[in-house]
């Protein structure tokens, strides 16, 4: 019984942990403060809107970024990938979102 209770407690902790870990977490960015905030919120919006379709989320982010900050933006949305990109300085955002999603947004014409 005691063991079961412990397990439950752990689960509860894990649950709480998972719940906490859904906020956007910027891993790397060389954007300025304003741009970073805006891009991050855009990514969050896109990923929440297209929770089950990463392609559409990426497309939405890319087009919105193009419109807002000028061409040409590139977006990766996915749960597991590796990348090595050349980007214009002050135009890179690499963040995690939702606890399982990695989003990389950069600009390079």
């Amino acid at each position: 019984m005691a063991e079961g209770a412990e397990v439950k407690k752990e689960e509860a902790q894990a649950d709480s942990g998972r719940r906490i870990h859904t906020y956007p977490l910027i891993r790397h960015s060389d954007m300025n403060e304003e741009m970073r905030t805006e891009s991050m919120e855009l990514c969050v919006t896109a990923c929440e809107k297209f929770a089950n379709n990463n392609e559409n989320a990426a497309k939405m982010i890319k087009e919105a970024m193009d419109k807002r900050f000028g061409a040409s933006w590139h977006v990766i949305v996915g749960e597991g990938y590796g990348f090595e990109v050349t980007h214009e300085v002050k135009n890179l955002l690499y963040m995690f979102f939702g606890g399982n999603m990695g989003i990389c947004v950069w600009k390079c014409a």
């Binding site: 906020y23 977490l25 403060e33 061409a71 749960e79 300085v89 690499y94």
Partner: protein, 723 residues
């Protein structure tokens, strides 16, 4: 052009795979005359006349030309020429061998092969179309509908169009029919979608391609960098876990921030990011810059460093009683070039560090002063430096707290500097307590009973003061007034004024802390005690001119040395009013110092730029080393200091330079017993060594004293000017 033999030619046209070979046989009647090339006509007028009688005279007007006829041409008459040959085109390949013989294994003999392949392919081209009824087409249809279906469809359309063209005369209706047909395509064709397995992109992920600009309008591309990383589920988890832990820490630190939700968590992190970016201070690189500076200096002064550590003057072995000074680094900075070095003092803790003070001895021209701490590791720039408003005349580094430096200035003030804290004086004497004349020497003393720092200063105003650094204030206590006996002058109203002497040098006894010596400008040396304020323990009429330095022997408790502007260095014993030794150095002696490693070795610097090193155990009359170290005229040497542990001595001059020298082995020789064995160095041995020498002198005091009465008086004025 053509052979006369009757050839049969085969024409074969490969029409298509689906159709069988079709051979066409043609009988081509060829007249012999027709075989003549037309250009030949002109060259052969005779033949023309034969063949065409009507044309006999047609070219009379032209030049008759000689007919060219090949040698092997057949001579044919009219009938033969008119004879008709029939050429039959057959399907036989003229190049095919006709008599191929192979071994027949059936009949076990060689047999002529009856069937010979006659087909020769001259041109073949595969078409891109298939007939829809062909086997290949059916196979392909069976395998996958799409590719073939399109072709057959196109063919079908073509056929339909022909039919339509027959039925209808108006062309304008044709597109309509096509439109109808395309709309009525059977739906089963879209059922299966084939995708390119190698280069496929989903329509949904394809975005709008922005048009490229003209090359001429392009400018310098914006700067780019590369960034790479990887996303895995465990990395994401770790990142969140780390961030969560960090947030927990922040929450614990600041309860006000504990309310932050998920969004605010990122703002906390953002603040950290910005604060990291903003602490871009020069102090961060100070340490790195210092290391680099040391490295550069180590490279550029490598030879000197090697000399400092390893080089020993080999010639010392052959020169019995002489030694040399090896020049090492020179320390000079721009800010101190015009100043005289007034004092040098090694750091008691760090063997490579010494402090030098800068001021001027010129009464008329007093610039601002300076204190610099140099390290042997970095000769190009001081480790610390303090600027002062007046020339600094003396300094002393505290023996227990090496970061504390006390300085005495030309205006009579004394100040304590802390090299750890700031470039400002931490304790400075105020106008009421300060000396009224230049402070010629300051000395740290051991802490008083309350644990406060104390030091002593001696000045030209005739006062010896003890200063106590108590918490934040500096208190002064006058210890002694230096009286000049017998020189009391008459005051205007008949009172007798006591003239005060001028103190120039002070040294405390290494063992009896209360006892100290004061050298005066009148040439007297006074033995005093802190416990007796009113009178002296002893007085020596030592020199004819100002005493520049007195120093107790570090080993022998009763022996001290003095130097003066009257060119002499004298060694005294406390009990004797006459000097035990007198050395005439032929120039004003700026400084004298006992060596820390031997009781009998001392060194002196003179105003003519020479360093004299004496070792009484070797030579009681002459210096074991007398070396000129400045080569510019008028440069005087001012101060000298032995390093405690290494065999280095620093010598300063009045042009702002401090030079370091390595003592050669003969100058720091260990005492030897009679058999030549080196004795172990101990204080007792040193005292005994000095005592032995002094014993000789005491018995016959005139042996080593040199007469200098006349010369000193004679040169006194000149020396005073010089120094």
């Amino acid at each position: 052009m053509m052979k006369k033999s009757k050839e049969t030619q085969k024409l074969k046209v490969k029409l298509g795979q689906g159709q069988g070979d079709q051979l066409s046989y043609m009988k081509v009647p060829i007249k012999k005359a027709s075989r003549k090339p037309s250009i030949f006509l002109k060259a052969q007028p005779e033949n023309i006349a034969e063949e065409y009688p009507g044309l006999e005279n047609c070219d009379e007007w032209t030049d008759p030309r000689e007919r060219l006829k090949p040698a092997d041409q057949l001579q044919l008459n009219e009938n033969e020429l008119n004879e008709e040959f029939t050429r039959i085109l057959t399907a036989n390949n003229p190049n095919a061998p006709e008599n191929v013989i192979r071994y027949s294994f059936n009949e076990r003999c060689f047999k002529q092969v009856t069937y010979i392949e006659q087909m020769a392919v001259h041109f073949a081209a595969d078409g891109c179309m298939l007939h829809k009824n062909s086997d290949e087409a059916r196979r392909q249809q069976a395998r996958g509908e799409t590719g073939v279906a399109i072709i057959t469809d196109a063919q079908a359309e073509g056929e339909d169009n022909e039919e339509n063209a027959e039925e209808q005369t108006g062309k304008e209706e044709v597109p309509e029919q096509e439109a109808e047909r395309s709309s009525t395509l059977p739906p089963n064709r879209d059922a299966k979608k084939l995708t390119n397995q190698f280069n496929f992109s989903e329509r949904a992920s394809q975005t709008y391609n922005n048009p490229y600009r003209e090359h001429e309008t392009q400018t310098q591309p914006p700067p780019r960098t590369t960034f790479g990383s990887g996303v895995t589920q465990w990395e994401i988890f770790d990142a969140y876990a780390e961030d969560f832990a960090y947030q927990q820490l922040e929450k614990n630190k600041d309860k006000a921030k504990s309310i932050v939700g998920q969004k605010d968590g990122t703002t906390v992190r953002k603040k950290v990011l910005t604060s990291e970016l903003q602490t871009n201070d020069m102090s961060l690189v100070a340490r790195a810059a210092k290391i680099v500076e040391r490295m550069v200096n180590q490279n550029s002064y490598d030879e000197i460093a090697q000399d400092f550590r390893y080089w020993e003057d080999m010639s010392d072995e052959f020169r019995e009683n002489e030694g040399t000074l090896l020049p090492l680094w020179r320390f000079i900075t721009d800010c101190t070039k015009r100043l005289a070095v007034t004092s040098v003092c090694w750091n008691p803790f760090y063997d490579d560090l010494f402090t030098a003070s800068y001021g001027s001895y010129d009464f008329m021209m007093q610039p601002k002063g300076c204190i610099c701490c140099f390290s042997l590791k970095n000769p190009s720039f001081p480790e610390f430096s303090f600027k002062t408003n007046y020339g600094v005349m003396s300094i002393d580094v505290h023996p227990s707290y090496p970061h504390l430096i006390v300085a005495g200035c030309y205006d009579g003030s004394v100040a304590v500097y802390n090299s750890k804290v700031s470039s400002e004086a931490i304790h400075c004497s105020n106008a009421e307590t300060k000396h009224s004349d230049p402070v010629w020497q300051v000395k740290w003393r051991s802490d008083d009973l309350d644990g406060n720092l104390t030091y002593v200063s001696v000045s030209s105003d005739g006062r010896v003061c003890v200063w106590t650094v108590a918490k934040s204030e500096l208190s002064c206590a006058e210890v002694m007034q230096l009286m000049v006996y017998g020189v009391a002058g008459d005051g205007p109203d008949g009172t007798r004024l006591q003239t005060l002497g001028s103190g120039t040098a002070i040294d405390f006894h290494p063992e009896h802390e209360q006892t100290f010596l004061v050298g005066t400008e009148e040439g007297r040396i006074l033995l005093c005690s802190l416990t007796h304020h009113s009178h002296y323990l002893g007085a020596f009429t030592a020199h004819q001119m100002s005493v520049y330095r007195v120093q107790w022997n570090p080993f022998h408790p009763d022996v001290f040395i003095s130097c003066s502007a009257d060119w002499s260095v004298k060694i005294w014993e406390r009990a004797h009013t006459e000097p035990l030794f007198t050395f005439d150095l032929k120039s004003a002696v700026g400084d004298v110092a006992w060596a820390p490693y031997s009781a009998t070795v001392f060194a002196a610097v003179t105003a003519d730029g020479r360093v004299h090193v004496y070792d009484l155990s070797v030579n009681k009359y002459d210096a074991v080393c007398c070396q000129t170290i400045v080569h510019r005229r008028k440069t005087k040497l001012t101060r000298l200091a032995f390093n405690r542990r290494t065999s280095v001595v620093v010598v300063s001059d009045d042009r702002g330079a401090v030079a370091s020298f390595k003592l050669s082995p003969n100058l720091r020789r260990a005492p030897r017993d009679k058999k030549g064995q080196e004795l172990t160095r101990s204080a007792e041995a040193e005292v005994e060594k000095l005592e032995r020498i002094l014993q000789v002198v005491r018995e016959n005091p005139k042996t080593s004293s040199l007469s200098l009465a006349t010369s000193a008086v004679q040169w006194s004025n000149r020396a005073r000017k010089k120094f």
